[in-house]
């Protein structure tokens, strides 16, 4: 026998073994189970033309902020201010649109309202990050402070400027402004056009009764045809596109770039990363700004979609974002996580949050029972993955 070396002790794995050991596998299986269960329980309604649109709307909402939260968690920090940042950004845009730019600088266009708001939220993200890295305090406590601070600021600003904590009845900016339209309008119309085109082929020549039965309507809905036999849904919400863009960029950066290596290194062992010249503090501050960006996108899509905002927007969203990141396989202790897993997690949680609309007999509060359960299961699963990678320490 030839001399044995340490390297021989590592077993060659087949692609199937590798697949099963991927960190996203748990999130993937749960997602598939939920999709199948929801399709059956809702009698297919959850995935008819409108069901799909509405599900993807909430999945994208959760997904956008969960991606930010996950990237930050991989670098070893938390952001509890995400929900309040959503409220703050929504307030800022809505007040500018209704009452004009600050300091009497005139009317605000959607673009100006967005850019000025983004400048503010990125600055706040920078401040939060700088406080965390300079003070060495736990980000948990620093961002908890900003959770209260920003929510309070939002409410006070509403009352001072607007007298009420709600702005509604703004003009529908997406009609006029391309910019409002890419945030609050519809995207991927071709998908629903193709769906309708295919639906028409399916029902060509069918004689419909004068009064459509419930079964008829269900069948047509699954083909993107409404009761008047016209095209039913025309596109996804624009936030779906932003979710895809942010997920693609986050995936690319984390897995393929130098910055991604720095993010993982920072969260795994900050001192080791620093000793090797990784600019740990800049990475962290940058990621706090990224979560602020994600919260701002969430708010902008909401404001330009509904033309309203109020002081409670985004409430509890920071906790959903963190929960989804964990369900997607992100380690609470940092250094490990997968963007694909977070996407699976957002799909799972989004579908379950919406399930009550498709299965009216169930109590909506079951959603939180479910979320609590998979969160706990995910934490245990993630811990096992971490132990396997670190050799059980």
């Amino acid at each position: 026998m030839a001399e044995r070396s340490e390297a021989d002790r590592l077993k060659e794995e087949t692609w199937l073994q590798r697949l099963v050991r991927r960190p996203e596998i748990g999130a993937f299986i749960v997602m598939v189970v939920i999709i199948v269960a929801l399709a059956i329980a809702s009698d297919g309604k959850a995935f008819n033309a409108l069901g799909l649109k509405n599900n993807i709307k909430i999945i994208a909402q959760y997904g956008i902020i969960a991606l930010g939260a996950a990237a930050l968690m991989i670098a070893g920090e938390f952001d509890l201010s995400i929900g309040s940042m959503i409220g703050f950004a929504g307030m800022s845009m809505a007040l500018m649109l209704k009452w004009g730019l600050p300091f009497g600088l005139g009317e605000a266009t959607p673009f100006l309202a967005f850019i000025i708001t983004l400048a503010m939220t990125l600055t706040i993200g920078w401040i939060i990050g700088t406080i965390v890295v300079r003070s060495g305090l736990s980000s948990f406590i620093v961002t908890l402070a900003f959770l209260f601070f920003l929510r309070g600021t939002t409410e006070v600003s509403f009352r001072l400027i607007n007298q009420s904590t709600q702005v509604s009845g703004l003009p529908d900016y997406k009609e006029e402004s391309w910019f409002a339209n890419i945030l609050g309008g519809e995207v991927f119309g071709w998908f629903y056009d193709a769906w309708y085109w295919f639906g028409q082929k399916m029902v060509a020549g069918v004689e419909w009764p004068a009064r459509l039965t419930a079964d008829n309507i269900n069948y047509l809905a699954a083909l993107n045809i409404n009761r008047r036999l016209e095209q039913w849904v025309t596109g996804f919400d624009a936030r779906f596109m932003w979710f895809l863009i942010i997920a693609a960029v986050a995936y690319f950066v984390l897995s393929r770039t130098q910055l991604g290596n720095w993010i993982y290194a920072t969260g795994d062992n900050k001192e080791a990363a620093r000793a090797n010249g990784v600019p740990v503090n800049r990475v962290k501050v940058g990621l706090f700004m990224f979560t602020a960006f994600c919260a701002t996108m969430f708010a902008a899509c909401q404001v330009f979609d509904t033309n309203t905002s109020d002081a409670a927007k985004g409430n509890l969203m920071e906790l959903f974002a963190i929960a989804i990141a964990v369900v997607g396989g992100t380690l609470m202790t940092g250094g490990f996580g997968s963007i694909i897993g977070v996407v699976f997690g957002a799909i799972t949680v989004g579908l379950v949050a919406n399930a009550v609309f498709f299965i009216p007999e169930i109590d909506g509060a079951w959603f939180r029972v479910f979320l609590g359960s998979i969160l706990l299961a995910a934490v245990f699963a993630n811990e096992r993955i971490r132990k396997r990678i670190t050799g059980g320490i």
């Binding site: 070396s5 340490e6 390297a7 590592l10 393929r256 770039t257 130098q258 910055l259 991604g260 290596n261 720095w262 993982y264 290194a265 795994d268 062992n269 001192e271 080791a272 990363a273 620093r274 000793a275 090797n276 010249g277 990784v278 380690l331 250094g335 490990f336 971490r386 990678i389 670190t390 050799g391 320490i393």
Partner: protein, 256 residues
């Protein structure tokens, strides 16, 4: 006699009122292993952290190839050719061998993308040169043995241009067989002839096996120094014990 690559003159380091180093002199030559010995708390780690730019000296001077230098950060020291392998190795367990090897100094393509294949190849080749054939550089460091991690950290320091390789107690947390592996690695690096090695240990046998030159620290001061010919085994044992005579120690112990 060749010129020392690194020379330290009368280096002191205070932490507030506490004198961690009280005037240390040191010379390290390329192609030699300089063993730095001393008890826990003697100041070994403080000395090398000062050389590595982590601490700034309170007074004294560091020379590289005869020229005075001062390091404001680990980056400065690393640019001057000082590669440090710390006790904790500065490795990230959850990351792959390659990602650790290039941490902070990644090879970039357009848009900051990683040139992963090239990096895998280099990491593999560099580790092979000093002794381990690591078949899968995408494996996480957490699954490697302690000796393999040492080799990775050493190969990394050399690849990024270390002319002085500082090893802080590389054998202390390892089993017998792996300790020998690390000593072999040290010998292989020494055989290249162009790298000066500072080997910190408090194991007398290990230092004997690979050391060309010795410096003994106790309570922040040098209490003895010399080449391996100049320092005999008894003298070595006396200095290891912080300068106390073995006979005295035996008496002391017997008296309890």
């Amino acid at each position: 006699m060749a010129e020392p690559y690194l020379r330290v003159e009368n280096l002191t380091k205070q932490f507030g009122p506490f004198t961690a180093l009280g005037g240390v002199d040191l010379e390290v030559y390329p192609g030699e292993v300089h063993a730095l010995l001393g008890d826990n708390g003697a100041g070994k780690s403080t000395l090398i952290k000062t050389l590595a730019g982590v601490h700034q000296p309170t007074s004294g001077q560091i020379y590289i190839e005869g020229k005075p230098v001062s390091f404001r950060s680990p980056r400065d020291a690393s640019a001057a050719g000082i590669g440090t392998v710390y006790q904790d190795l500065a490795l990230n367990q959850l990351m792959s061998v390659t990602r650790n090897f290039f941490m902070g100094r990644e090879l970039k393509g357009p848009l900051g993308t990683l040139r992963m294949d090239e990096m895998n190849q280099i990491a593999h080749d560099e580790m092979l040169k000093i002794g381990i054939d690591f078949s899968d550089p995408t494996q996480a460091v957490g699954t490697m043995s302690g000796g393999q991690r040492q080799t990775l950290a050493i190969a990394r320091a050399i690849h990024f241009g270390a002319k002085v390789l500082i090893l802080d107690e590389p054998t202390s947390a390892l089993g017998q067989k792996q300790q020998m592996g690390v000593l072999k690695t040290i010998k292989r690096v020494r055989a290249r002839g162009d790298i000066a090695i500072i080997f910190i240990t408090h194991n007398e046998i290990h230092s004997r096996l690979v050391g060309d030159r010795f410096t003994f620290l106790a309570l922040g001061k040098v209490i003895g120094a010399g080449t391996s010919d100049q320092i005999g085994n008894d003298e070595m044992r006396r200095l290891m014990a912080g300068g106390a005579e073995m006979g005295d120690l035996e008496q002391e112990l017997a008296g309890i």
